[in-house]
Symmetry: C2
Subunit: 238 residues, 2 copies
């Protein structure tokens, strides 16, 4: 296969890349790099991506990492439907603007919060309440920005588009990490942002042929962690 | 003027954008948004960029923010020399990869460290030694990555290019914030990275017709702060 993608389906940009490829009929070989087993730090994988992060790709003999760079490269090489990465320069610029904003805002807030309230022990790390508080602040601010700046009345997707772009995929897959949170916590965080909630459903709907299948590992991993974290008397027999 | 750029020359991405425009003969009107006076939070500027950050542009009636998105938009609209934003898909993908990596690595480390060791009081904020320590760790790791991953033997600029791209401008202008540090601290941080030091000089040299002029405000602002921070007996009469 000329395109190999190295992913872990628990990783949010990995899932976005898988959905992007499947939605666009891009053929690829999926190679699982299990983050919980430290496979991203193996000498073999560091040859593919010296940063030790997923996703990464090898296209024939061209190695690339950073998910946003990968979507853009594949969109150009495989000539996908225009809405994923618009050829119109102003529409494209707005997509870049969202993707660039994402790194230090939604992504940083979400990773800090989810890691430090729930996920850290699964990766052998301690929970850090101070980092969780910083993450929550960033996260709420980022959700407010999506609600009031990136979503507009012109269309259901980011920057007012009629159909989703790679930015919608990247951001919604990030928000799907909230699966790890307790339900009341998730409701508390997303509750005030009705427009964001509708947009998440619109992105799921627009990609429904692949969204749930790609997220199945996340749902199962999250259910397994929740079972582990229950007090002993509440655990099921499974 | 059809292109207005809103910048503050103390801001690293603002300077990168100014150098980019000047190097490429792009005509523009420079509108200064003084961060130390809070002009980035004025209602007038929030109409241009609701995030309240510089740089931002208005091209005819198209508003755009996030510096990387701006370079790419202007490179496409004005048709600049290919090396700034290569048309070759693999070279372009590598430039995107560096730009994406930058947000959570060099930029985050540099901002945390410089702000929390020196710059915070100028913006009415307290110094935070814990944040400075976190920033230093990130920063050293980022400089090591530039030294061992992004700089290669193929050429003097990032990802082995023969001539600079927007990624070189973005990263070097970030590192120029070290002007705010004490000289021994700057030497301690950059000292181990000989290849990075040479690359910084190569980028300055390749943009020398504009680099120092655009950085003049930074040099003066930094000298003024250092004078202020000296113990009373060491201050000059000026």
């Amino acid at each position: 296969m000329e395109l190999k993608v190295y992913v872990h389906r628990v990783s949010q940009p990995s899932r976005a890349l898988l959905i992007f490829n499947k939605m666009n009929g891009i053929e690829f070989e999926e190679i699982s790099i299990d983050l919980t087993k430290g496979q991203h730090k193996s000498p073999e994988f560091l040859e593919i991506n010296p940063m030790g992060q997923v996703p990464a790709i090898v296209h024939v003999d061209f190695k690339l990492f950073e998910s946003h760079a990968i979507y853009i490269y594949l969109a150009s090489v495989y000539g996908v439907a225009d809405h994923w990465y618009p050829s119109d320069l102003q529409k494209r610029a707005k997509v870049h603007s969202v993707l660039d904003w994402h790194h230090s805002n939604l992504r940083r807030g979400s990773v800090l919060y989810v890691l430090n309230t729930k996920l850290a022990p699964a990766f052998g790390l301690p929970l850090n309440p101070q980092a969780a508080a910083e993450g929550e602040k960033l996260l709420l601010c980022a959700l407010n920005t999506i609600d009031t700046v990136w979503l507009t009345d012109s269309g259901p997707f980011l920057v007012g588009a009629e159909q989703p772009s790679v930015a919608d995929l990247s951001l919604v897959c990030e928000i799907m990490q909230f699966e790890f949170l307790d339900e009341d916590d998730r409701s508390r965080i997303l509750g005030p942002y009705k427009r964001v909630q509708k947009w998440i459903e619109d992105v799921k709907d627009a990609t429904k042929s692949h969204f749930d299948e790609v997220h199945d590992t996340l749902y199962k991993f999250s259910a397994m962690l929740k079972q582990k974290q229950k007090p002993a008397g509440e655990k099921s027999e499974a």
